[in-house]
Amino acid sequence: MIKKIISIKKINLKDDRFRISLCNELTLLKFSIQKFGLLKPPILTRRNNKFIIISGWRKVLACQELGIEKIPAFLWNERDDLKILLFKIHEYLTMKKELNFLEKAQIISKLYHFGMEKREIIQNYLPLLKISPSNYDFETYLSLSELSPSIKRAILKGNITFQGARALTKFSLSEQEFLLPIIIPMSSNYQKEFLINVYEILKKEGITLDELFSRRDLKEIIESRNFSQLEKIEKIIDKVRSIRYPSYTAFKKFFELWVKEIKFPKGVNILHDQFFEEEKLSLKIKFKNDKELRDILEKLEKICNSEKFKEYFKRKDEI
């Protein structure tokens, strides 16, 4: 490698074949360059009469934004792309303490598209990236690398978690763009659940995303002016869940209404397992002394004899 002074104009910034990090946050770096100069020059190589960046993307971009026209750089005269990529990956792994999942996805995707055999990537590189060496994980990361640029930006900003991103990979790029503003305000758990529910409704009913969100009930929520943004999101999540799980939602509503109508005494809770799979319900009673407990038990006895109370057990299998 030789060190040279290169004009930034001679660098092809569109060719990002060796780029791994997608981070474009340059504020601190620009400050450092202004104060101390470019301490570690980037590494470049030449393709089609232009230079392309092997490492030091953010440094070159920061210099460009600062209006610096010429920068020092190391030139590596190597024609084998895979060899350069491997160098870059190993350099990257030794320099960075913890890679984010998008960087890992970029590495896996580049290795694969540069011609390395899937099996070799799974056996040798997934463990290096702290990913279990399975075909399943390989495919997952490969699909993460293909997410739309705006989704990737949202991930880098911390707005989408790994689980949410993984669920997004099932959608086309235009669908991802459509879903992005809806999922950003959601917490990570809801993002995943919502996206999976949406995807499965589309698959089950054979409809498009447009068709789903043109449904009257969903459209009414989206277009309503009576809800705050957060309320709207909550209602959309609930509505999508009820479309995906109609029997479960109907049963849950039936149960909740029953509990509400019975008016159990204060301190009494009726509990069920998450999906009503167990036959039995449980009863939790909070009391501070013998008198309070006796009062509660008396009220409960009256409740047990009421028709309303028995109705749940009569009707629950038909809901």
Binding site: N135, Y136, E139, S247, Y248, Q274, F276, E278, K316
Partner: protein
Amino acid sequence: MKKFVIQKNSRNILKEKMKYKYIPDRVFIDSEVLYHPITVRITNNLRKTPYEIVKNVKSFIKEFNFNYKNGKKYLLITKQKGKFIKPCPGTPHYLCCNYYIINLTLNCPLDCTYCILQYYLNNPFMIIYANIEDLFRELDSFLSPNKFYRIGTGELTDSLVFDHFTEFSKDLISYFANKNNTVFELKTKTTNIENLTKINPNGKTVVAWSLNSDRIAKNEEINAPSNIERIKTAKKIISYGYKVGFHFDPIIFYPDWEKDYFKIVYNIFENINAEYIAWISLGTLRFPPRLKDIIQNRFPKTKIVYDEFIIGLDGKFRYFKTLRLKIYKKFANWIRELSNGKVFIYLCMESKEIWEKILGWNPKGKRELGDKLCKIMLAK
């Protein structure tokens, strides 16, 4: 070892072959069983299939380019070094029927979309264990004269899908024909019964067919014969002294399920006298969450994983309880009416609550159910 080119359209080619009988593209033989009589029998029956000898099976499997679909074309004959007989693992919180499994062959070329083997098995080969003499030794010490047993080969494979070249049915049926307290069950979706017609089961073997609706059979049981072919084959085997069973498992919910499944239940009783039916089992679709991803990846067109599943008490996906109750109620009523109550119905991996509500009773434990099934069959 040579690497083989993966053929495009391999599923179509396999389907064409399966219309007749499964023939592997290549047989790999573990050098340990090269001269075993079972190996000789199989290679004689598969004369046109090229074979290769493998010296170290473990490293061969490890080095083989893993691809589940592709693996359906390759047969490996090797030696079972562990136990052949295992209790059916069942599933926590749900009732099991105390079934014992014989693992003499592993994997299945039928390639049903919902198949649990995609999740259980960690290599792609169709595996045949040649050392059947060790199985018989194991059975001799395992079977006690004071207990009842239901035992079968159809858990990690289809019991008859390889039988035209392994001829294992003849060995196994003959063995169990002399056991007074054991019911041997062959579970299949095939019509591969030629070898069975040459043996007298002595009332100890049940041949059971998995059935589904025609729509599910066509779209999800990719290389299997149609339901009516399965029922006609069941009808035929009765004349050779066998009792038959039917397993509606997995029952899959979709808008027209009721009409479609009724047709099949009706077809059974239209063709077969209830006296010859040992049992009919019912089980709705259920699967571990990891299998969902596998099904989605391997069969992107299938919709079966997108219905209303909840996580059951055993951590597996199953239909919401009210939906299961509705399905089982219909099936139980159809079967009772069409058989005049003569056919024993049981539920596979269901809760006591559902047993009670559908069948009006629930077994105290798996032993009670297992024994009951044996006694019913042996009394027929």
